[in-house]
Amino acid sequence: MNTAASRRADKFAIQVSELTRRFGHLTAVDHIELQVPYGEIFGLLGANGAGKSTLIKMLTTLLPPTSGSAEVGGFSVIRSPGEVRRRIGYVSQLLSADGALTGYENLRLSAKLYGLHKAERNALIGDALDFMGLTDSAHKLVKTYSGGMIRRLELAQAMLHRPAILFLDEPTLGLDPIARHTVWDRLLDLRRDYGMTVLITTHDMEEAETLCDKLAILHKGRISVAGKPVELRAGLGANKTMNDVFSHYAGGLIHDGGTFSAVAQTRRTAHRLG
C-alpha cells in the first residue's frame, strides 16, 4: 500500500511541465505547467471543452501526452505508468460503480485489482464502508442506491488502497445539495485522516471555494490563472465572487464548448443519478 504517511520525500504530489495533448489539429491541453504539493486539495475549473478531463486522463495514465512531462507521486506518467497507478485513486465523471453488484462486491473487486492481501482486505473494505456511511447498505445492489450513495461508494473504492493522490472528475455532478455536501465532508475527512492529495475538476463555484486550497482555471487548454480562491477574488476587486473570477478568466459563464460525447456523458450521468 502507498499510504500518505509513507509518501516520498518529494515536495509535490503532482508536477507537470509543458504538458500538451493534441487530437489532430485540436490542441486540447496546451503546454500546461502545474505543481500540487502533498496534502493539498487542488481544483481545476473550466468551461466544457477547456481541457480539464484531457488533463486528468493524462495524469491518471489513461491518455498518453503528445509532449511535455508529468510526474504523479514521484513517478513519470509516461515512463512508469504502473507505479503511478499504484499511488492514485480515481473517481470518473461517469457513475462507474457496477449497479448489478452490491456495494461490498464492488469494493472487493477494487481490493483484488489493487492487490490488497486477503488478510487485510475485509478490514479495509469495512473501514471504507464505515468511513463513507455505507455499512448498512453494503449488501444491497448498487442499482438501488441513491446518487449520493453511489458517489460515496466510488470514493470508498478510490480510497480503499490508501492512495497518496485522489483524482476526482466532477464528483458531485448531478447530486442534490445534501448529497453534494456529504461528499464534500467525506473529501475533507479523507485529507484530514489520511493526508491525501486531491485533484478535483468542477464546474461548481461553491464547491471550488469550499473545498479547494488552490485553483487553476483552464481556458482553451491553457491555465489562464491559478491561486487561492480568496486571492483570485481579491485580484478582481472588492466584493467579487468566484462566478466573477470564472467569468473573467474562462471567457464567460455561458459557454457552448464541449464535444457531443462529453455532453452526452454528462447527461447519462445525470440520468443515472435520477
Binding site: 486522463k57 485489482l113 489493487y114
Partner: protein, 256 residues
C-alpha cells in the same frame, strides 16, 4: 503469475455473479441452437443429401451447433465492453494497477463459462434426441477445454471489434455481418470435402473449423477428428494468443 491469476479471477468472479443474478441473455441465446438441432437437424437428416460417413446427420451437426452457440454467445461479448466504456467502468479498470492482459484474460474466461452453459444445453437436447454422446471423463475434459478456448477466441475477437468501432450501433452491424459467414465457412453443417475449393480454403483459416473438428471427435461416439487434436488445440491457442495480444494493445484506446 499469482498476481495475474488473482486479477483475472476477480474479473471472472464478478462476471459470474452478474450472470447468475440475471441469466436472461444466456437463456435467450440457448434457444437458437436448440432450434437448429431440433428443426434444421431433423429435417436435413431426412433428406440424406449430405454424406457424413457412418455418422447420422444429426450426430454430425451436433458439435457444429455447439460451436455455433459458442460463437454466437461470444461474438456479441464486445457490446458489454462498449456499455462498460459508456458507464466509466473501463476507465476505472484501466486506472487500477491490474495488468490489462489479466483483465482481458478474465473476460475471455468468463465468456468460456457462458459457453459451457450453452454446451450443457446442447448435450441435454442431443441426449433427448438419441444422439450418441461421449460421456467419458477424458472427452468431457476435452470438450470443456475446447469450449473455453473457442469462447475465449471469439470473445476476444469481439473485444477487438468493440475497441475499433466504439459504438453499439456499429458493433451490432459488424457482429451480424461476421457471424453467419464464419458459421457457413466452416465444417459445422457440412464436411470440408463437400465444399468448393475456394470455400474449403477459407474454412481452413477459420478458427471455428478447428473448434468443430476437435468437438466432433470429443462429443460424438465414433466422431471423426480430421486434423488431429494436437493441431486443433495448437491452432486455437495460437489464434487466442494473437487476438489477446492485439486486444491488450487496443483496450486502453476505449478510455480516450
Amino acid at each position: 503469475m499469482k498476481r495475474f491469476i488473482r486479477e483475472s479471477s476477480a474479473i471472472v468472479e464478478i462476471e459470474l455473479i452478474k450472470l447468475a443474478r440475471d441469466p436472461t441473455e444466456l437463456i435467450a441465446r440457448a434457444v437458437q441452437p436448440v432450434l437448429w438441432l431440433v428443426i434444421f437437424g431433423q429435417v436435413l437428416a431426412q433428406v440424406r443429401g449430405i454424406h457424413t460417413g457412418q455418422m447420422s446427420y444429426l450426430a454430425f451437426i451436433t458439435p457444429g451447433i455447439l460451436a455455433q452457440s459458442v460463437l454466437f454467445s461470444s461474438i456479441f461479448y464486445g457490446i458489454g465492453i462498449i456499455w462498460e466504456r459508456d458507464l466509466g467502468v473501463v476507465q476505472k479498470l484501466l486506472v487500477s494497477p491490474a495488468r490489462r492482459s489479466a483483465l482481458l484474460f478474465g473476460k475471455a474466461i468468463a465468456a468460456g463459462f457462458r459457453g459451457i452453459v450453452q454446451a450443457v444445453v446442447i448435450y441435454l437436447v442431443a441426449l433427448v434426441m438419441h444422439v450418441s454422446i461421449r460421456l467419458d471423463p477424458l472427452a468431457i475434459a476435452g470438450v470443456l477445454s475446447s469450449v473455453m478456448l473457442g469462447s475465449g477466441i471469439f470473445a476476444t475477437f469481439s473485444l477487438i471489434i468493440a475497441c475499433i468501432v466504439k459504438t453499439r450501433e456499429r458493433f451490432m452491424g459488424i457482429g451480424q455481418l461476421l457471424t453467419m459467414p464464419m458459421f457457413f465457412a466452416s465444417n459445422a453443417i457440412y464436411p470440408l470435402n463437400l465444399m468448393p475449393s475456394w470455400l474449403r480454403l477459407i474454412a481452413q483459416v477459420n478458427p471455428l473449423t478447428y473448434l468443430i473438428d476437435a468437438l466432433r471427435g470429443l462429443v460424438i461416439v465414433g466422431g471423426e477428428n480430421i486434423f488431429g487434436y494436437g493441431l486443433d488445440f495448437a491452432v486455437m491457442l495460437v489464434v487466442f494468443s494473437i487476438l489477446l495480444a492485439i486486444a491488450v494493445k487496443l483496450y486502453p484506446t476505449l478510455a480516450v
